[in-house]
Subunit: 250 residues, 2 copies
């Protein structure tokens, strides 16, 4: 095998190591060595050696329940700019919103055709929702996603509606025309709603964080559907999003 070929196979080894880390998505549940080998489709001996190396570097931890992602992954994760900078800037405004509503507050960005949750704060009484910091949901079926989409270039909207719209609940929007109309309404109102489209019994109000017209993030308040009071919540969410826009536009 020539020098280039060897290097090739070496880089593949890095990719395999990363593949092992990725096999913990999306739940982070502990895995045995055999489970990792099965999920990554790697020979058990290779898995063994790579896992040893990842443990030695604190990227994996051995626990009584099995292997889990290690502290070095957490420490590195906190250095990713969307997390570090966006969260740092957004947190005071999210806290204001929490204090005003005592509901679950989300901060998210768009990543591809998904909403990627960057921060979530909640108190004791916040509703139970499937969102998770670092987790994703389709844009078309969440208040934050529709709001980010409404202020995105038309080409992105076209891409979303060119595929089947994913149904998370019976109330998810699956008709492209309904979605387009709703996006137009969001652009006019400056806020978007989610009426049980991601979780039955749960609704939300979202506003975009625009920096020079680009929706860099969105903020939302999530409430039990019977407590959705747009007149009270929409101005609060818009105020928080506008305040964060101003800070980020400096």
């Amino acid at each position: 095998m020539g020098e280039a070929g060897q290097d090739e196979s070496r880089v593949t080894m890095l990719e395999r190591g990363i593949h092992i880390l990725q096999s913990f998505r999306p739940t982070g549940q502990p895995q045995t060595l055999s489970e990792i080998a099965r999920r990554t489709d790697l020979p058990k001996s290779t898995t063994h050696r790579l896992v040893d190396s990842l443990v030695a570097q604190d990227l994996l931890d051995r626990t009584p329940d099995g292997l889990v992602l290690g502290r070095a992954v957490f420490e590195l994760g906190e250095l990713v700019p969307i997390k570090m900078r966006l969260r740092e800037a957004a947190l005071p405004f999210m806290e204001d919103l929490y204090e005003a509503t005592h509901e679950t507050i989300h901060l998210a960005v768009r990543d591809g055709l998904d909403v990627l949750y960057v921060e979530k704060i909640r108190g004791h009484s916040g509703v139970d929702v499937p969102s998770r910091v670092g987790g994703r949901l389709p844009m078309s079926s969440t208040g934050l996603g529709k709001t980010l989409l409404a202020f995105s270039p038309a080409a992105l909207v076209d891409e979303v509606v060119s595929r089947p719209l994913r149904r998370l609940t019976a109330k998810s929007i699956t008709d492209p025309v309904v979605l387009q109309n709703e996006l137009a309404a969001i652009r006019v109102a400056g806020v978007g709603y989610d009426h049980e489209e991601a979780t039955l019994g749960v609704s939300c109000v979202a506003a975009p964080v625009l920096v020079r017209g680009v929706p860099v993030a969105g903020i939302s308040v999530t409430v039990p559907s019977d407590q959705l009071q747009p007149g009270r919540l929409a101005p609060a969410v818009r105020t928080a999003a506008l305040a964060l826009s101003r800070v980020l536009s400096r």
Copy 2:
């Protein structure tokens, strides 16, 4: 080179890739390819190939400012158990404490001889402190660290005092006897204080989160030193830490 030797060098390639990710610690600042090669002491061609592979897997992102840690690192970081489980359980109590004090609230664990910050919430008026989620400080010079240490096995205390105690400010404790006495006082009071030992002008009150006697985490309130009111803050911090202990002990 035999099969085993080749595998060896392949695993080394994984280690080098990880080393590139680690080179972004502790600040997460953007780096050029040359900076990464210099910091990791890798040949530029190897760095190039490894960086390409890391970018392809979303572990690094190319930005106008240089290379930064990518979204996949953030997403994986959120799946690390200390982050996912501890934070999830702690957040409502941290929010209570924030609402009662409007000061900066920290959640931390011990990692080796350091305090590792797992969560930090603050409002607009919170004091400026060097702590950062995912960041570390020496145990002996922080309120959280001393509190975690006070409830740790004596062997760990011996290990800490067997080395020079790091001085972060003129008020950091550097005398092992003074530290030992303070740890004894913390065990009696159930709360620990930091009097400008990590940052001049900033003090804090911390309480341990004990699960079956083991200090699994600590919670603290950080305030400008002239506003340190132990009579008001200590019961609030203890209450939050005790409530979290109860949840985690279930």
